[in-house]
């Protein structure tokens, strides 16, 4: 599959309320091409909702319900089960739509985690997309469970003390039918994963890394560049897993196998204003080394994890 073969279907219309250079609308466009027209989405409060237009106008072309912040897991799970009943009972006819969530890291790692974990345990039938911009961007950049160590946010004003949780791994260890990570820098990998997920029944989780120029403070033009660097430095890992069986993908696999050297971490972190305090700190080198150590440790861990549960 090539870019040229992608559907012309658009999940957004021009004139969105998102920042110039926003990764979320890019992500929506790509997944939309894979999900197609017969899908319904759930959105929790986030940039994706704040920038979709004032009632009665929207820039999203897919049917969507704006739900409460902690509701993603239960709402999508409930809708999918209800649709199942309606089609079974003949109250609706035709092909059952795909149900998906489009939810930020706040709505996934933090306030929405419980519902998602419950869904995964019950194997509710929908795809959860986490668009991970590593912060509560909509409310102006507060720390989330996905914010990396040392990053400045307004609620970690000296840099976050502790690293992010490995949410995709946690979801993998729920052992649902499908869990994957993806990056805007590798759109066809993302597309493939969405297509694959679409054809699986049960709980599916896809997390997309979303460098956010506004919260991270880098030039809007570099959104995709930062996405690429995240993967190439090993700061963001690409993989997929089925029922707990893990496979590393693409650049990440190459890095893990040593076939490729990680890109220099500073290239990735330095342009991000959120690390400015760290770069100004006397402990800068120590901190950088620590981040590098953790990236390495995690990569090694995931490579090892991929050997289990074959």
């Amino acid at each position: 599959m090539k870019i040229k073969d992608l559907s012309t279907l658009e999940y957004i219309t021009p004139g969105t309320g998102a920042c110039a250079g926003c990764p979320s609308t890019i992500g929506l466009r790509i997944i939309g091409k894979a999900l197609g027209e017969n899908a319904i989405g759930f959105l929790t409060p986030s940039c994706a909702v704040a920038s979709m237009g004032l009632t009665p106008q929207t820039c999203y072309t897919f049917p969507a319900l704006n739900i409460c912040f902690a509701s993603a897991g239960a709402s999508a799970g409930g809708a999918a089960m209800a649709l199942d009943a309606l089609y079974r009972k003949g109250k609706l006819q035709g092909e059952k739509p795909v149900v998906f969530n489009w939810v930020g890291d706040g709505g996934t790692y933090d306030i929405g985690f419980q519902g998602l974990s419950g869904s995964a345990e019950r194997n509710d039938d929908y795809i959860h997309f986490c668009y991970n911009n590593e912060a509560y961007s909509n409310t102006g950049n507060q720390r989330s469970g996905a914010t990396p160590q040392f990053a400045l946010t307004t609620t970690s004003p000296t840099g976050k003390e502790i690293g992010q949780k490995n949410m995709p791994l946690l979801m993998l260890e729920h052992r649902p039918p499908y869990v994957a990570t993806a990056s805007l820098a590798y759109p066809m990998d993302l597309y493939r994963k969405v297509e694959k997920a679409k054809n699986i029944t049960g709980f599916r989780y896809i997390e997309i890394h979303m460098p956010c120029c506004t919260s991270w403070r880098f030039p809007a033009a570099d959104t995709i560049k930062m996405s690429k660097l995240a993967v190439r430095t090993g700061a963001w890992l690409l993989w997929e897993g089925e029922y707990g069986k893990l496979t590393l993908n693409g650049v990440t696999a190459s890095l893990a196998e040593g076939r490729r050297k990680p890109a220099p971490l500073e290239n990735y972190l330095k342009p991000q204003g959120r690390f400015s305090t760290m770069f100004k700190s006397p402990d800068k080198d120590k901190h950088l080394a620590f981040i590098e150590y953790n990236i390495h440790r995690e990569l090694e861990f995931m490579a090892g994890r991929a050997k289990l549960l074959k």
Binding site: G17, A18, C19, A20, S51, T214, P219
Partner: protein, 184 residues
Amino acid sequence: MQEIRIHGRGGQGVVTLGELLAKSAIKMGKEAQTLPFFGVERRGAAVKAAVRIDDTPIKVRSQSYKPDYLVLLHENLLEIALAGGKADHAEIIANAGQPLPVEDKQWIVSATDIAIKNGQVVGGEPFVNVPVLGAICRVLGIPFEVLEETLGEQWTGAKLTPNIATAREAYDTVREVEGGPQHG
């Protein structure tokens, strides 16, 4: 009461401008209040804020419909600003190179040029809010020393100097002009 409504774009420092103006007024023994921008401030999207200045504590809590002054951080915000309403007697203070195509009493200042000249540009965006503030103070009759004091509380050292410079230049160069030709 004097009411000033400021129009700009996300990232131009509209809220800060309002705050600094209000603080300057307070230094002159006035009461002051700023009114917030309502909404999510995306870089480039139109935003606004208002400032009220009075001799007695301000009770108004509602929005600004009939300001005495309309401030534009860029002349291309004129339409949006007018749509928001103004007093009949309102004066316009704009960052503009030439008169605006309206009949209202108006003051213009080349804030963009002043900012660029003084190296006040970050990420391609000139900092026009401080020079426009300089212009407003001049129009409202706030002495430059007062403004200088306000700026000195906001910035220090190397950051302060160019701000004072741009404010000063705008203070000195803002000029009242006749309304320009109306668009068809």
